[in-house]
């Protein structure tokens, strides 16, 4: 049975839909209201408050902390300044992705890592012989994501001891709410202006209440996983076990992916002296990789025409789908759309897809499978670059 998060007394009081889901063993709200629309639009129009406590969190400290991180992740940990956050994958020795998450440098010899899956054993195995302490702090840190254009102005009224205007994208700093210490990072999973707040579970409700109180006039809206899922698809952000499969869950080699194949090539620093998987990735670069992550934009007229054959109009609004749909070109399946949704904002049906790299050129005309009246149909679509939505305020 999933257990409550530190924010449960507040989130459960708001729960009108009674739709909870299990996120890493915690109760997570799918949506609070009968429809998720308003929660989604809060992310894009005002500010959404999302309980992300179920993330796995690790603290790595000691003289060799930097050396360990640098060995694990594909980005250069030596160049991670105190107060900087890196989004990064980490790989096994075959260069296949185990997980992706954020690495925050809290102090010269202290890092915090967030991840979707448990990673303690892997981190400890990588730390063999190093002077480093790795602690699973998942239960010791409650986390809230405050995401949306009004996130900053709300936060400015709630917390002290931090220059929020000066806190750049993917930077982090300590702050406080009165005598309650917390940690703020300019990060999120929405592709919008946003922050994540890290606090001891004892202070969780105080933080929640203060945000709600001061945020009310700015449209703060608690949001669940359905809203977040739509936003992250628009932002082109991958989800583990949906858009790629962790090597630790893959049952066959073909299910595994390198960072290059899941759109994270930019986060692989081949100039680094060494890291786990580097040699394999080098070989893969020389050989060329099999898959490429791209966006798919489904042609609306084509969808309308397919539905019209059945005397229907498209009914696609609503929740994002994680049921993969095949992508074709000239009759041949060239990949699959692994997450897809109608974007309420862009008024387009969009998907994140893995396409065989020789076919994955932007602008390429493809078709995707849609099921209408129990029949499989092919809708015209175009391959495009990710993200679909990237407002300037995300980094401003």
């Amino acid at each position: 049975m999933p257990i409550p998060s530190p924010f449960h007394p507040r989130t459960s009081a708001l729960m009108e839909s009674h739709e909870w889901r299990d996120w890493s063993g915690y109760l997570a709200a799918s949506l609070y209201e009968p429809l998720h629309d308003r929660e989604y639009y809060a992310i894009r129009s005002s500010a959404a408050l999302i309980d992300v406590s179920p993330l796995f969190k690790y603290e790595i400290r000691g003289p060799d902390a930097e050396r360990l991180l640098d060995r694990i992740i594909t980005r250069d940990a030596n160049r991670c300044a105190v107060g900087q956050v890196l989004y990064t994958p980490w790989c096994d020795d075959d260069g296949k992705v185990i997980d992706d998450g954020t690495v925050t440098r809290l102090a010269t010899d202290r890092f915090r890592v967030t991840s979707a899956d448990p990673n303690l054993a892997w981190f400890q195995d990588c730390a063999w012989g190093m002077q480093v302490e790795i602690q699973d702090v998942s239960a010791e840190l409650a986390a809230l994501a405050l995401q949306g254009p009004n996130a900053r102005v709300i936060l400015q009224q709630v917390i002290q001891g931090i220059d929020l205007q000066g806190l750049k994208f993917y930077r982090a700093a300590p702050a406080c709410l009165g005598d309650l210490p917390l940690y703020v990072s300019r990060t999120g999973y929405t592709g919008d202006l946003g922050y994540e707040l890290w606090v001891a579970p004892e202070g969780a409700l105080r933080l929640w209440d203060a945000l709600i109180e001061h945020g009310e006039g700015y449209g703060i809206t608690p949001a669940g996983m359905l809203a977040l899922d739509l936003a992250r698809i628009e932002a082109g952000l991958v989800m583990i076990q949906v858009d790629y499969i962790s090597t630790r869950h893959a049952l066959i080699e073909e299910q595994k992916s390198s960072p290059f194949e899941i759109g994270l090539g930019w986060a692989v620093d081949m100039k680094k002296k060494s890291f786990v998987g580097k040699r394999s990735l080098q070989a893969e670069l020389a050989r060329g990789f099999t898959w490429r992550l791209v966006g798919v934009e489904v042609d609306w007229n084509s969808l309308e025409n397919i539905y019209a054959q059945f005397d229907l109009t498209p009914r696609l609004a609503g929740r994002a789908s994680r049921v993969a749909a095949p992508v074709y070109q000239g009759g041949e399946q060239i990949g699959q759309m692994t997450s897809h949704a109608f974007s309420p904002l862009l008024k387009k049906y969009l998907g994140i897809a893995s396409i065989k790299s020789q076919h994955a050129s932007y602008g390429a005309r493809v078709s995707v499978e849609v099921t209408v009246e129990y029949t499989r149909q092919k809708a015209q679509a175009t391959l495009v670059a990710l993200p679909f939505y990237n407002p300037p305020r995300k980094r401003a």
Binding site: Y41, S46, T313
Partner: protein, 529 residues
Amino acid sequence: MHAATRKEYDIIVIGGGHNGLVNAAYLARAGKKVLLLEKRHVLGGASVTEEIFPGFKFTVFSYVVSLFRPEIIRDLNLTRHGLMILPLESTLTPLPDGRYLYRGPDHFETYRNIAMFSRRDADAYEDYSREMYFMAKAVKYILGVIPPQPSSLHPKELRGLLGMAQHFLGLPAEQFNTLVRLMTMSSADFLLRWFESEPLLGTLSASGIIGTFLGPRSPGTAYVLLHHYMGEIDGAFRAWGFAKGGTGGIAEAIASAARSLGVHIRSSTQVSQVIVKDGKAAGVALADGEEIYARVVVSSLDPYHTFLKLVDPNQLPPEVVADVERYIFRGSSGKVNLALDAAPELACLSGPGAHLRGAISISPSIDYIEKAYDDAKYGDFSRRPYIDMIIPSMIDPDMAPPGKHVMSCFVQYAPYHLSQGSWDEKREAFGDAVVDTLAEYIPNLKDIILHRQVLTPLDIERTTGLSQGNIFQGELSLSQLFFLRPAAGLAQYRTPLRNYYQCGSATHPGGGITGAPGRLAALEILKDW
């Protein structure tokens, strides 16, 4: 001046309302060099947001959107230019006796709420919604096509007519019959086929009278009900929404897209007339005497301005002039915008909640609205008007300072032609009638008003130029739709003057923030190029 005859632009679009902007953007997208001229300092026409009271943004005239064409959002990349349409999920009808009818996104909550008035209605509501889905689907076809000319024998026109006939005759008999009823009945009679409870009848019938000088018992109003369902049939699109930043947000997004496509926009620039040479439009003359030449001139203004003011009517066939003179404007609505010091407290449902984020409709019964119409029939504003109210700051908090609110009240009826006195004398009395009516349902209203903006049809006309203050550039009655909009023979965006086109709400498919006339006109202009 020799320079005067030099064509700097391919096309000049007169009027920076949302249709003018859409038209200009589509023409520029097709590679034309376009100049758009707007007389006001602000773009948008009746789709404007203005900070009338410091810190409070009023969505001054129009306030909601339902039919804005999603293909325009996609074609012009309007999301990138800032367009965001937030959902309006509910309608609350407060009643004088303290009860209320609340219809929201939760299906069975709505069912229970209607059942409080009539269990039969709660069930019939499903059938009604389903029937309206079929109707909207049948009529949606019309929104996207150029109206054919029924009197023409040109093969193209005949093909269009035939296609239309096939489309409608292909409907199942039951749907065809409903469609005929929809086209002929009053909204009250049409709704009485399903329902019996007054708050539901009143509120649904109200959507049949918006922008018309007709009451819920006037034949022909049933058709307008359909406009409430049109947005839903795409499945992906919510029927009603509120544009972030008010409806001015829509105009700004289209203007930004138009500029990025190369449209040159000049605001505070009044066109005094269209220059006609050899029976063809050749450019425009501005109020300050400047002349600008182009191959094509497009007017997004209403027919009164397009045919009788911007050109010399003597240059037009007399029957066209006569048709335009008989075109029915009859502005029938006003607008009251309020800046509020705190959240309004409803007598029927106090405290904050989802009901404040939707529409609030003062429409307790059909009789109530019909009585409001009675006042107007004889040249007075309604003493107890129908009011469609939203609180934009509850939907988009950026519309007012934190904790404060703006309220937008669409009010009907406010006839343009008063039998006694003038609107300048009666403006505040009209405002009082609206506030007094609302205060019956919102006891704290009068204590929290910081600023009141009252807009009569005369004010709408003066500010936006919309003749007689008609928000749709002319009534959306069946006699003025499709191949009769704005008049027979003028429905294909062209005019009797070559190179002179129309693209406003007075052309098919009509008023409301749809962008469809602007887009369809652009496609026709490009066909002629």
